[in-house]
């Protein structure tokens, strides 16, 4: 499992897309730390501490799902398409393959977000643990959703297309659901992670339950598959 985890994490750092995403996140982290330094007092309910991480939080909130889906929409189906999965499936259990890939993707994001927070910590001289956990909860939800997508959609070209539409639609629809009283849309806020970020602990962790559900569903589908 660990071999698959480290391979997955290493492979995620390759290519143009991760470089772009890392640059955007680090860029936003830099901008927000400057904001934090420039405005030492609280502005419209945003504390100075929050200001340091606001850029990163905002970027992840708006584009986090897009970033994760762009990198991981084909995490499973690409290996099935290329048939390299046959080598893995004859060497270890299907659970270990999927969990290894999941942990590799989580490790990638832990490193990326960890790097951004290290930079923020060095600038602000404060460690923003709560924000780090909040962002990681949001990303765990997104990663497990990407895994479910990659397990459900057989072709990587299709999962990229569907992933892009979902990644752009989910934030907008969630915002609409958050403010709407209409029955046909308001339920959506309970199944996406945005609503829970406003709540206090332990309700903030509800997206983790969804993440667990997505992973269990992915494992179920993956175990029943012929390669």
């Amino acid at each position: 499992m660990w071999a698959i985890c480290f391979r997955e994490c290493k492979d995620l750092f390759k290519g143009f897309k991760p470089v772009l995403i890392i640059s955007i996140l680090l860029g936003m982290a830099m901008v927000s730390t400057r904001l934090g330094a420039a405005f030492p007092d609280e502005i419209e309910g945003v504390t100075q501490k929050e200001m340091y991480t606001s850029g990163l939080t905002l970027t992840i909130t708006l584009f986090g799902i897009l970033f994760v889906f762009a990198l991981s929409h084909s995490v499973v189906n690409k290996e099935i398409e290329s048939k390299t999965i046959r080598f893995l499936v004859t060497k270890t259990s299907r659970n270990r393959i999927l969990l290894g890939k999941f942990m590799g993707t989580v490790l990638f994001w832990l490193i990326i977000i960890g790097t951004c927070f290290t930079f923020i910590t060095l600038t602000s001289r404060m460690f923003h643990l709560t924000n780090y956990i909040e962002i990681m909860i949001f990303l765990l939800y997104s990663i497990s959703a990407a895994f479910l997508l990659s397990n459900t959609v057989p072709k990587s070209s299709q999962s990229m297309f569907i992933g892009l539409i979902l990644a752009l639609a989910i934030p907008g629809l969630s915002l609409w659901a958050y403010f709407s009283e209409r029955w046909y849309i308001m339920w959506l806020k309970y199944v996406t992670p945005y609503y829970y970020t406003e709540l206090a602990f332990p309700l903030q962790g509800v997206p983790l339950l969804f993440a667990a559900l997505f992973i269990v569903l992915s494992l179920y589908l993956f175990k029943r598959r012929d390669f």
């Binding site: 660990w2 698959i4 048939k83 390299t84 080598f87 004859t90 060497k91 270890t92 259990s93 598959r225």
Partner: protein, 300 residues
């Protein structure tokens, strides 16, 4: 105790039954050849045994482990029918990775030993994207061997490789058998199967049509053997006529001084030789041409 045992193993895709209720036993140390025309269900059967495909029904027992393939994957090596690799990785990186995935340490000496065995030494650092089909096939065999498995499944191990490499692979398979490994292989190369396999199963339309050693298969299908008897070059016309009368129950043919007799069983050969000697006919040589697996296979 059998290393592979299946009981009524079946696989259907939608309503199409590709493998129908196959019961089979393979003993330790065998090289078991699995034959069949394209679409007979060979690969699907192998894929079920190796965990690539899930059976629709039936039971299988590999290395005495009931149904739970995950428990014995580290003891089994598989060359799948269609092997593609990670183009950006080298042969060495692949073997290192697959070794770790199998839960075994990736020792450099072991990697080199396996690369040497398959004839890929010198190409270990080359990206697999630049490999030829034959080289990929060899790497496929290498990855099946890297974790030192007891049981090997090789799906078409020599298809698409040049003659020299095919011979090299066949020798390697025989060497592996000598080292106590059990090999289950499918092949389209009937000569190869005949030469190296200890037992053979012929599959037809999802069923096992026949199983056995070459000798058993020949007996089962009562295939005739052709006996070539070299007689004196001065043999006379009358003598030929005598022989024809003597062997009236056999189908015979003449090729100059060579007498060709078709027999059903090897046991008939001494009787023929004895009858000729009794007539005072000198016999210079006797050669038995046994039917090839190809001849048996074509009669299925």
């Amino acid at each position: 105790m059998p290393v592979i045992e299946t009981e009524k193993l079946s696989k259907s895709f939608s309503r199409n039954e590709v493998v129908s209720s196959i019961s089979l036993k393979v003993e330790k140390g065998e090289i078991f050849g699995f034959l069949g025309r394209n679409g007979a269900g060979k690969t699907t059967f192998v894929n079920m045994l190796t965990g690539i495909t899930l059976p629709t029904s039936g039971r299988m027992l590999l290395l005495n482990n009931n149904n739970d393939i995950d428990q014995i994957k580290h003891r089994v090596g598989v060359l799948p029918d269609y092997s593609t690799f990670y183009d950006h990785l080298s042969a060495k990186d692949h073997l290192k990775y697959f070794c770790k995935v199998s839960g075994k340490p990736a020792a450099t000496s072991k990697i080199e030993e396996v690369l040497r065995a398959v004839g890929l030494i010198g190409h270990e650092k080359k990206k697999v994207g630049k490999f030829s089909f034959g080289m990929k096939k060899k790497l496929g065999i290498a990855q099946a061997l890297i974790h030192d498995p007891e049981l090997l499944f090789l799906d078409e191990p020599t298809s698409g490789v040049d003659a020299e490499s095919a011979i090299h692979i066949q020798r390697l398979i025989l060497e592996l058998q000598k080292n106590g490994k059990t090999i289950f292989m499918t092949s389209h190369n009937l000569d190869e199967v005949e030469r190296i396999c200890t037992r053979i199963a012929i599959m037809k339309e999802g069923h096992i049509h026949s199983t056995g050693t070459m000798k058993e298969l020949k007996k089962k299908y009562q295939t005739r053997s052709r006996v070539q008897i070299k007689l004196s070059s001065h043999i006379k016309k009358e003598q030929k006529e005598n022989i024809k009368n003597l062997l009236f129950s056999y189908s015979i043919e003449w090729k100059d001084s060579m007498l060709l007799v078709d027999v059903m069983a090897e046991e008939e050969i001494p009787t023929i030789v004895h009858a000729l000697s009794k007539e005072g006919i000198d016999i210079f040589a006797v050669h038995v041409h046994e039917p090839s697996l190809q001849e048996i296979f074509l009669r299925q």
